[in-house]
């Protein structure tokens, strides 16, 4: 029993890490530009499919490095052509536009790669269990957690110590002042969007090794990412990270104890958090 629970907690942690990675990108874009990027799941799927297409040419490691960048470039193009026009307008419009984009990406990937799950090659040595009593601790799973951890630490370092990061954080608090101080806000928003989409692409490359590669992978991961943001606290990136991990572990544990509520538990958590603390666990006051 303890092993079963440990197994599911660990599983939940991995899934939670994906939620968190995706939610962090969503949060970045939401905080700076006030846009809910519904197409975020679509970008995640694109990351996975691009990696799948690249593996024969550049190998697993090459794809891991290149695919998120290609996804981010695509994100920049979308931002430039479409989303940029909607900044400052009623958030309804960017929501609807990215909603339509999500449809198009899902259907487009289905058109190109088909609806069924594709085989995704992970290096063999990563797949073997590390210990026989804890069979679930394969190298790939630890590897995923490590990559997510590196990405998250990298993100916080960028936000904390680079000029771009400082500007993003300042812009989140008061974009007008940042603009008056001579920062190119358009460029800032673009780069921020690209950064967010990069995280989605990275999550995509990693997730397909674990969850399988099919066009609906994006739409199945986007809702939990919303929940992660709400539970963790609106406007707080550490909160988003915490929220993602929490709901991941919670659904992992529920999968053992009460399997039919695996998906519902995160929404119950969200309701509880909103009831007790409407701004979320680490949300700042006044940013509702």
């Amino acid at each position: 029993m303890t092993q079963l629970i440990l197994f599911n907690v660990f599983n939940g942690l991995i899934v939670g890490a994906f939620y968190a990675l995706m939610a962090l990108g969503l949060s970045l874009i939401l905080n700076l530009s006030g846009v809910i990027n519904f197409a975020h799941g679509g970008f995640l799927a694109i990351g996975g499919f691009v990696a799948y297409a690249l593996i024969p040419y550049v190998g697993f490691w090459g794809a891991l490095l290149v695919a998120p960048f290609i996804t981010a470039v695509l994100g920049l193009v979308v931002e430039r052509l479409l989303i940029r026009r909607l900044y400052g307008r009623d958030p309804l419009y960017s929501l609807l536009l990215t909603f339509g984009l999500a449809f198009m990406i899902e259907d487009g990937t289905r058109f190109i790669w088909g609806a069924q799950s594709l085989p995704y090659q992970v290096p063999g040595w990563l797949l073997s269990p590390l210990s026989s009593s804890y069979f679930f601790l394969t190298g790939y799973r630890l590897f995923m957690v490590a990559i997510v951890a590196i990405a998250v630490i990298g993100l916080f370092l960028i936000l904390g110590y680079t000029r771009l990061g400082v500007r993003i954080r300042a812009g989140t608090l008061d974009l007008e002042t940042v603009s008056v101080l001579g920062v190119n806000v358009r460029l800032l928003r673009s780069l921020n969007f690209g950064l967010g989409v990069y995280l989605a692409g990275l999550a995509g490359v990693l997730a397909v090794g674990q969850l399988g590669l099919q066009p609906t992978i994006g739409s199945s991961l986007i809702m939990p990412s919303f929940v992660a943001i709400i539970v963790g606290g609106l406007g707080s990136l550490p909160g988003t990270l915490l929220g993602g991990l929490l709901i991941g572990v919670a659904s992992g544990v529920t999968a053992v104890l009460f399997p039919s509520a695996t998906e519902a538990v995160m929404y119950v958590m969200m309701a509880a958090v909103l009831l007790v603390r409407p701004r979320g666990l680490l949300g700042e006051e006044g940013r509702l």
Partner: protein
């Protein structure tokens, strides 16, 4: 602000035209290439979009989770007829109650949020019901949907109306309910309560300073809007004699929002027009291409870029200039 009530004929003309078209629909729909079920679908989804617009266009609150209450109404009606009593009327009542109670309970959790956050929380909450319908498969039929039931004949005191086999009769039943629901919304919007909602939309802070309990008003508006959406949902499952979890899925919520925006959020009849365009287009696209989802997505993008005010909003603007 212009006075709301006006006996001026030119102002009543749009209402007259809409009602005339709706009343005569079964007579002309076949001649323009449609069929009566399509008309019923426009009516029912149009009602849902108008109900959403009560919140979206008139209270200024962005809900992206109305499919949940639409689906609850649909399942409420279907399950009542399937498991409890084979009565269309009771199915409608219970379906509406289920959706309304759920909205009333969730309301207090979300009314303090605004803007994108309200949208996000409403989307997320909608998913709970989707998963319940999906997972509780021995009762709800799971992914395959709730089958093995049909709407029942209406037993009015004077006569029995066979709405099951006559789609025209069902259309008129839906139209009667539509008229009641729309009438209630129109009446509410003209009342001091409705004016207060518009004041909140225009300037929430000022409304608050005037002593209006804003959160409570938004909660009431939310419950009314969800109640009417669940009426529409109940009608929808009766129309199809079927309901599946997709009625609860978040993409259905997006459809309602695009209908409202496409027709014109600032006009009372706009969402109905939007629903008509959307339903007919979807019906056509899914018959000619397998990739209709891409086209619907493209349609969303085009509407946002080129028709953000909606069809009626554009017409009104053209008339004004």
């Amino acid at each position: 602000m212009k006075t709301a009530v006006s006996s001026d004929l030119t102002k009543q003309a749009p209402n007259l035209i809409v009602w005339l078209l709706l009343l005569t629909m079964p007579l002309w729909v076949i001649h323009v290439g449609g069929y009566i079920e399509l008309g019923s679908r426009v009516l029912v989804l149009g009602l849902a979009a108008m109900a959403l617009n009560f919140l979206l266009g008139y209270t200024g609150v962005l809900s992206f989770g109305h499919a949940a209450y639409f689906g609850l109404g649909a399942y409420g009606a279907g399950m009542t007829i399937r498991y409890l009593v084979p009565s269309t009327g009771l199915g409608l009542v219970i379906g509406t109650l289920v959706g309304t109670v759920a909205a009333a309970v969730i309301g207090p959790l979300i009314v303090r949020l605004r803007g994108v956050y309200f949208a996000m929380v409403t989307i997320a909450f909608g998913q709970v019901f989707y998963f319940i319908a999906f997972r509780w498969s021995n009762v709800t039929g799971g992914d395959d949907g709730l089958t093995n039931w049909t709407r029942q004949s209406l037993d009015l005191l004077v006569a029995k109306v066979d709405i099951l086999h006559s789609s025209t009769a069902f259309y008129y039943l839906a139209l009667v309910i539509f008229a009641i629901a729309v009438g209630v919304m129109a009446w509410l919007l003209r009342s001091p309560f409705g004016r207060t909602l518009i004041a909140i939309r225009e300037n929430e802070r000022r409304a608050r300073f005037l002593g209006i309990p804003v959160d409570r008003h938004i909660w009431i508006s939310w419950v009314i809007s969800c109640a009417i959406v669940s009426v529409a949902g109940a009608l929808y499952s009766l129309l199809n004699n079927f309901v599946d979890p997709r009625a609860l899925y978040w993409s259905q919520s997006g459809d309602f929002v695009i209908m409202a925006v496409l027709g014109g959020m600032r006009s009372f009849w706009g969402p109905l027009l939007g629903a008509a365009i959307f339903v007919v287009l979807q019906d056509y696209l899914s018959s000619v291409t397998e990739n209709w989802m891409s086209f619907v997505g493209l349609f969303f993008v085009l509407v946002v870029l080129f028709f953000p005010r909606g069809v009626l909003g554009m017409i009104r603007r053209r008339v004004a200039t």
